[in-house]
Symmetry: D2
């Protein structure tokens, strides 16, 4: 870490910085600048110290970190690709097959779930998604079937051998449409039923929740798919993953899903952050999954963006599909049909083979 003192810094300002450095157990060297500006280099492993610890001091102009703010999730810390093993030869990450995760936005009925599971499974997709708890912008929108939905997913796992990914929306107690509260909180329920626990974009900065999640899955090391917040910087995204890993669970999958920009929602709901794939693959050793459905918001744009993600180096895709999108309870507009999904899968696999 290198501290640039300001032109106007007094000797007292500098002493304050130096004593904070030694107080934290580090050594330093002061580099006297010809222009009267001093630069202070701090020596040692600073990965657990935040820039702001020095930046907030009077007389400090700028703090430049040489080592990264995130450590445990960084490529420097561990250069080999992390491969997450879900059992039964289902892997996420690494040089092998792409990981496909597909299913409906929300679990609606047994009939719907079984139909989708059947065609998803037949295509050779190994992981099914489906929302039992839905984070909705309006308190008046459908919030998901809760535990009943999770039980449907358990049936799917048993019947089709699919692995299950579903979202844990928080530490609160779900209230169903009749006003009845569930007995356990949402995270506890999802931990019981899911093979992969999904954390949504809206909770990426709920740091207390991430910490609790790390602690509660410390023993089981259940895989966690963490979605990027729609306006979070990549550094903050990696730090959110670091929260989970630093609290005990190293099995984190990064998932990109589009960012908020000035783009017109009529054309694209969010801007697909395809370039971030190349950045994350270089900065971190964690698997990177791409969600084209939420990125674009319209079915017709999904295939092109899905293939682009694979060409850019993504380890897999998380796609919404529906057997009857026109009648979907939620996000029907962005769900692909069975035949579109099959087409995406075959082309994506072909691009993958061409590149690896």
């Amino acid at each position: 870490m290198i501290i640039h003192m300001s032109k106007l810094a007094t000797p007292e300002d500098q002493n304050r910085v130096l004593s904070r450095i030694t107080g934290a157990g580090f050594k330093y060297e002061v580099i006297k600048g010809a222009t009267g500006i001093n630069v202070i280099g701090i020596l040692g492993d600073l990965s657990q110290i935040s820039e702001t610890y020095f930046e907030d001091l009077e007389g400090v102009d700028k703090v430049v970190r040489i080592s990264k703010a995130y450590k445990l999730v960084s490529r420097e810390y561990s250069s080999a690709d992390k491969v997450i093993d879900l059992g039964d030869d289902v892997l996420v990450g690494g040089p092998g097959e792409l990981a496909f995760m597909a299913g409906p936005c929300s679990l609606e009925s047994e009939d719907q779930v079984m139909k989708i599971a059947a065609y998803v499974s037949l295509m050779g997709i190994k992981i099914m998604r489906g929302g039992a708890y839905k984070p909705r912008t309006s308190p008046y929108s459908f919030q998901g079937h809760g535990v009943e939905g999770l039980k449907l997913l358990a049936t799917v796992r048993e019947k089709f051998g699919l692995k299950i990914i579903t979202e844990a929306t928080g530490l609160h107690y779900h209230v169903n449409q009749d006003g009845v509260r569930e007995k356990r909180n949402v995270l506890e329920n999802v931990i019981e039923y899911a093979d992969i626990i999904q954390i949504g974009a809206r909770n990426m900065k709920s740091y207390g929740f991430l910490q609790e999640l790390g602690i509660l899955t410390k023993m089981s090391k259940q895989p966690i798919l963490l979605k990027r917040g729609d306006s979070s910087k990549l550094k903050d995204f990696l730090l959110a993953a670091e929260y989970i890993v630093a609290n005990g669970n190293p099995n984190v999958i990064l998932c990109l899903r589009g960012i908020r920009t000035f783009e017109d929602e009529k054309f694209q709901r969010y801007t697909p952050d395809i370039g971030a794939i190349t950045v994350l693959k270089r900065e971190s050793n964690l698997p990177v999954i791409f969600d084209p459905s939420h990125s674009v918001g319209y079915r017709v744009n999904v295939p092109g963006v899905a293939l682009a993600a694979v060409a850019a180096g993504a380890d897999g895709l998380l796609i919404e599909t529906h057997n009857d999108p026109a009648n979907a309870l939620c996000d029907g507009e962005q769900s692909v049909t069975e035949s579109q999904l099959a087409d995406i899968k075959s082309k994506a696999d072909a691009i993958r083979h061409l590149l690896v």
Copy 2:
């Protein structure tokens, strides 16, 4: 609500829309367009129905809401300004005095807190802020003193007669620097100690948390200050407030704090959303407070932006101040000094008197 069907919509598409409307208990009228495009008007109170309920259907091009998505927090629902009474003649909102809330970013020591409380109180400021739980981007940054901090605030209240605002960061259990977990969750602790419960920008979209907050304060109706997420649209901000109100607690204060844009962080950490004050005051009857400290991130910019907020019609200011900013444990760079605070207060009061 007006539904525009697409040019390519089939009669089946239209029937599907019509049956969803009648199924939800509403009436409609179909307006046949000369260009072959039909427009469907839905009649009745649709405030509790989301646009997506129709937008997701096949053949629907666009849904235009005439009444708002948010209802209970809207100016249309209740045109009079909501005034929140904290007791002892301390009011937030309405045509009276500006509400000032000032204090340190984080509670550091009894000495610091008492010094700041003393000068804040002497200036005639009635509400003190201070963070016992700090949401930090890095898991390695200082996370606050927890319950010990809350107890300090209780002492301040007793000694100086100040009202207390402090943040509840979630439903998790705080872990102190020795690794010990608190016995109750963060929200439970803050509910016990605070006069105003602050919900931070990072949790504005943690809808389960907002719902739980509404339910847990349904009886007490403890005032809640809700901060806008740094990239949330104003409609989503108002819907987040609606979550709390719809779950039982109408005493919500809206707080703006800067939005994320392409601006260079060197000049401004966030872009102060001053224009949003005029929009919120028109759309909603809730009090609107402005936080200049987090908006700009640098002490030198705070006074100008604080006064701008008052000139634009804000009902009060939430400002970080520190007796010794150079040595602050957190956000020292953006905390104003005692004399700056006094200057802001007198000028802000003068502008307020000029305008009301």
Copy 3:
């Protein structure tokens, strides 16, 4: 076009709208809403009327366009892909080969240009880029060699049979490093030398320049590559193309190059707008080229993003390459080496064959 009147509109407001409609030569139908809100449908070809013509009137709440604001460049106007023929079997657009355009950011010396032209040509690339006029953020940065650079490009064309694309930065007179003004303006010079005239992102909204460009190339119909402004909406990008076409030159190539977002420049200079490829290919019949170099700003990210663009359906790539990037006068950091370029070309061609 459908005009939604506001709840508070008076009969006078409505009459004003109706007479503006008839004054412009159109017919209308008024749809009386049950809630007292009227909707007015305008009949006829409104492609040459802007929404604001009605939106600005008192009492108008919202104007929804059914037909598009852009007409001549729209897929609806002409559904077949436009193919631009540069002569000698070099095509841009259509179902054939990808169009590669590669070369240095700026033309530095004869030696540099010849070396690059040699390897570009050997790879089978048919179009060479190179900047003789450079739009620079700082008045003190190197602004290009002007006409001397254009002459170098002419030599390249003669020697290697490459087609030439180079930027026209405006209608001003270039001043060289000795303070001498050129005799003709920049556009006139570029028109003389280029096979494709490039219009940069910074000038996408210089509407007077676009109009002049259309007029000056009306007879020659020289192809024009128009880059998207870094914060322009897709609708505005298509309207900028419409400016050129409506003024007489239909041979426009659309080029995406990254948009400005909140992303950290350390990781990506701009955010690659890959999703926009799928939108533009659907909305317009013009060829769509992608520039990965300016999108990402760092050489290491270029290959992944280039291949992503091809997978998403781009008709070609515009790439910066340099024989010695470490010593480039401009943008060396984002220029790929010869071997990287060869690798991108072979993989991009393979993906193209797989998809078309």
Copy 4:
């Protein structure tokens, strides 16, 4: 300027940097870091060298400028506020009265212009705005009356003694609605008629145009009001002003007008960049004017934002007003009425007196 070499930089990389420094006529000192990373300080006046001159070199991690990229427009270069004298005691900038500039978006008819001039003048406003050339997003929108409009402005000046500000949209030749091209280019015409030449946001990055503008007004030193591009960083805005000043005309007025963000256009067309006022006043000695009309886009938001700008320290306001906004040919929705303008003026003056 301080150059941080990367961890992986070779001795050759470093030598390349050193020889580029000495080649440019500067001295350096190399600071050897304990971690093996070297930092190179460059000594001397580097205001005319761009960071990219070194950043583009291989092995360079980051270049930190201590002195600014802009020089002539910086507060460091000249600490006193620049006051621009329009004659007849009309000043822009400095500690005196606010500078108000008001008038219609576009010049429509003699009757309209005279009515507005009359009430503007009567309020004590000294500068009238009005567009003869209009930069429009669509080629089919009304583009202004050209020279005819300029002549109307000249009449206003003569009759009411008002100073005139009007926009020069480029170096092209205006084509009127009958298809006739004007004899001189737009800039030449505006130079003849205007007291202040306005450069619009869309041309802020048309660097060739800015250069030409500086050269053509080098002798006259006619004041130029430069608007910030809707997505340009403040550094780039100041560099655009530097372009004009470095080419010979020091009389530049900076004008803020809202930036493009993710905000919903329904509430605000652009986000008013009020915070930027405090930054510009500190960084530069040029006058800073605020345009609330284009920032917000809706009349009802204009007064609050206008007063906020004054409270934040703006030197004046540029406001659109119309005698009959409901029938305005352009931007009627954002034009304030006569009585609103009078109210803004009296309150803004009162806030100014309170603060200066």
